[in-house]
Symmetry: C2
Subunit: 166 residues, 2 copies
């Protein structure tokens, strides 16, 4: 039985050996389609293959010698102090344990350390993302904009925003 928040100490940067675990988490999640998973893995490849890149940072949560959740974020190009949170994903059997919130909090801390002021998260208005929307609201993100029919007809983009307090 996993207790609430037992994994707090295991938040760390990702390593190359974590890629298969992350791929599995993404695939077992019902939140991402094949194109989105490919895009998520592309960012990880950029991270490991281009040491000069500064666009993407990754944190993961390790439990029992494997990665059970991760997040990807980075400075928004052409801005000063705005960051995008691109992905956050926790293995389905580890939901409702506060792992996502902990990953988010650590990402926000790291963003603050990089002089970040604002975090932006974009998500879909589809009903299956209701728990995602509720997750960001619970974590003090507010809706900055809704772009109607952005992803496709009937599927709008919700832009969440949080101003970080140093």
């Amino acid at each position: 039985m996993i207790q609430k928040n037992p994994l707090v100490q295991l938040i760390r940067k990702i390593e190359k050996k974590d890629i298969p675990d992350i791929k599995e988490i993404l695939e077992r999640s019902n939140n991402f389609n094949a194109e989105e998973i490919e895009c998520a893995l592309d960012l990880i490849n950029i991270y490991f293959n281009d040491p000069s890149q500064k666009d993407y940072e990754f944190l993961c949560c390790e439990h029992d010698n494997r990665v059970i959740g991760y997040t990807c974020y980075g400075p928004t190009p052409l801005t000063k102090g705005t960051f995008d949170l691109y992905w956050i994903c926790v293995g389905p059997e580890f939901h409702n344990l506060g792992i996502g919130a902990r990953l988010l909090m650590e990402a926000e801390k790291s963003i603050l350390d990089s002089n970040g002021r604002i975090v932006i998260v974009e998500t879909s208005s589809q009903e299956k993302y209701l728990s995602v929307v509720s997750f960001y609201k619970r974590n003090k993100y507010s809706v900055a904009a809704v772009i109607k029919d952005f992803y496709c007809e009937g599927d709008s983009k919700i832009i969440f925003l949080k101003r970080l307090i140093p």
Copy 2:
């Protein structure tokens, strides 16, 4: 003396030889800082160096054997039918001749041909971009959202949107 809209027939795809002209237009414009110009030129390099890329398309306006304006646009990743208009720039001495509007119209036609439904343009709220804001409004773009302090404190992002009519 250049007459209104004399260059309509000279809208075409960019070629490698146009790069110096485009660089010069970007540099002589007061709308872009060094980082933005570098970003604009990066996209052109991706376009010419990676034949498999489908993220960026370019149109330019040629006059008197040189390029006097160009635009860059492409499908927004992970969407069906949404396109970003990334850059549109016309040499300062060729402003107010309808060249920007013509480039925009041709980009929209090409987007429609690729089953595009929506065009998104992002610009800054800074006073020096007032003419840019007015340009998009004149061309039937409406403000879909404003993200306060996005670029930096006091400099918000305005997201313009146009639904294309087939």
